[in-house]
């Protein structure tokens, strides 16, 4: 009702008032449009960045996700038992049951504070996973664990595990990641390595795995969690030999 009255009065007041009002309306509309664009653009960019990030999330798996058995292994690249599990059990398992589509193997990072270079090794592995070189790098890390766990020189083994072009991409991903991932102590108290590592784009992936492990709960490495037809079995830890693990898988597949 009031609008109609105002309009009538303005029309009666003359062309100058109408012009001013039109300018005001245009200005308000412009602000609204610009504001919407300004607000929406970063949102879209964020969404695009998120989509791109999830598309290039590290793939740390072996085999088909459609396999009836899923085995998640929480491990630390510097842990000797994890090396034994990989060399004695997971390698033959990958060659046999994973390639046959019976088992889907998932690597989960669980670097322990007691290991000086474990977290950094996990970063290298995650960087390699983002360029599709995880399997080669995992093998290189475990094969050469006795060497790099002494001096922390992981990079040369990573470089040798993949083509030069891929290694350059890995190095780029590792920018801002090296040097800050060593475990430190505070008055004799071992600090969590995640607390000391800041500003590295790979750390969220490692910390995500660690958070998952904490919920299980993982108390030591290696810890493995086996899921059969969607049913998660109690977690096991330590080294288990391939013939014994194979026997267990066979008994599961016979169910």
């Amino acid at each position: 009702m009031d609008y109609r009255v105002d309009s009538t009065r303005e029309a009666q007041a003359g062309g100058v008032t109408s012009l001013t009002r039109a300018v005001r309306v245009v200005a308000v509309c412009s602000i609204l449009v610009l504001g919407t664009v300004a607000y929406g653009a970063p949102g879209a960019a964020r969404a695009r960045a998120k989509a791109a990030e999830s598309a290039s999330a590290p793939v740390k798996t072996y085999g088909s996700s459609a396999a009836p058995i899923k085995m998640e292994v929480f491990s630390d690249y510097e842990c000797p038992s994890c090396r034994s599990l990989y060399e004695q059990t997971l390698r033959p398992m990958i060659a046999d049951y994973v390639s046959a589509g019976k088992v889907y193997l998932v690597h989960r990072d669980f670097p322990l504070p007691m290991h000086k270079y474990g977290y950094e090794a996990a970063r290298w592995a995650n960087a390699a996973a983002r360029v599709g070189q995880f399997q080669n790098v995992e093998a290189a890390l475990y094969d050469n664990q006795p060497a790099w766990s002494v001096d922390g020189n992981i990079e040369k083994f990573i470089a040798a595990a993949m083509p030069a072009a891929d290694f350059k991409r890995v190095q780029k991903l590792m920018e801002g990641c090296t040097g800050a991932a060593t475990a430190s102590t505070d008055g004799g108290r071992m600090l969590n390595v995640a607390q000391t590592a800041r500003g590295c784009s790979l750390d969220p992936y490692i910390n995500e795995d660690r958070a998952l492990g904490t919920r299980i709960p993982v108390q030591a490495t290696p810890t493995y969690v086996i899921t059969y037809k969607g049913q998660r079995l109690p977690a096991g830890s330590g080294v288990v030999s391939w013939p014994i693990l194979k026997q267990f898988f066979d008994s599961l597949l016979r169910q």
Partner: protein, 177 residues
């Protein structure tokens, strides 16, 4: 307290210890034999549970690979038989000695694994329990003394020939009169 009352008290104590030990062994067997979540009781599901227990036995790294599976498939039935034997009270001196040897064996295996720096599941009552001070205290300060006490008691408590190991209850005494 008269000599008879002391003897009766000792026998009741022995019976309580024997039953507690029997329950421990029966529960340990059940925890290893029971099917995993979502699986029904069947020969196949029990075999899966025993295969899972075999992985736990293997993680102790004390037995050669060929011996792991037979041992893992044999131990839970042995625990079951031992539990039932202790429950029956028949030949208590033998069953208590065997149970003490079994508990000693479990403790030796755990201490050995712990000293070698292995951070593994105990496997004592199914999967998921980590070896550590808690398991040492439980087995070393609870199960072993209990088993030893039952063994010593079984040898100390004398019975007249034909007398049952368990003292007759008041009801049975009355009905006998």
């Amino acid at each position: 307290m008269s000599k008879d009352a002391r003897g009766r008290f000792g026998r009741y104590l022995l019976m309580a210890g024997r039953l507690a030990l029997a329950v421990i062994f029966l529960y340990a067997a059940y925890a290893k034999l029971k099917p995993q979540v979502g699986m029904p009781w069947s020969i196949a599901s029990v075999n899966t549970s025993l295969s899972m227990f075999a992985m736990g036995v293997d993680s102790y790294q004390m037995l050669p690979t060929w011996a792991v599976s037979p041992f893992a498939h044999l131990l839970p039935p042995v625990e079951l038989i031992l539990g039932l034997w202790l429950l029956s009270g028949f030949g208590l001196r033998f069953s208590s000695v065997l149970s003490t040897l079994a508990v000693c064996g479990f403790i030796i295996a755990m201490v050995s694994a712990y000293r070698r720096g292995l951070t593994i599941s105990c496997g004592c009552f199914g999967p998921g329990e980590q070896i550590g001070p808690k398991t040492f205290i439980r087995d070393g300060l609870l199960f072993l003394p209990l088993s030893l006490a039952v063994t010593v008691g079984a040898f100390l408590v004398r019975r007249k020939p034909g007398e049952p190991a368990v003292p007759a209850t008041a009801a049975t005494v009355q009905s006998a009169e």
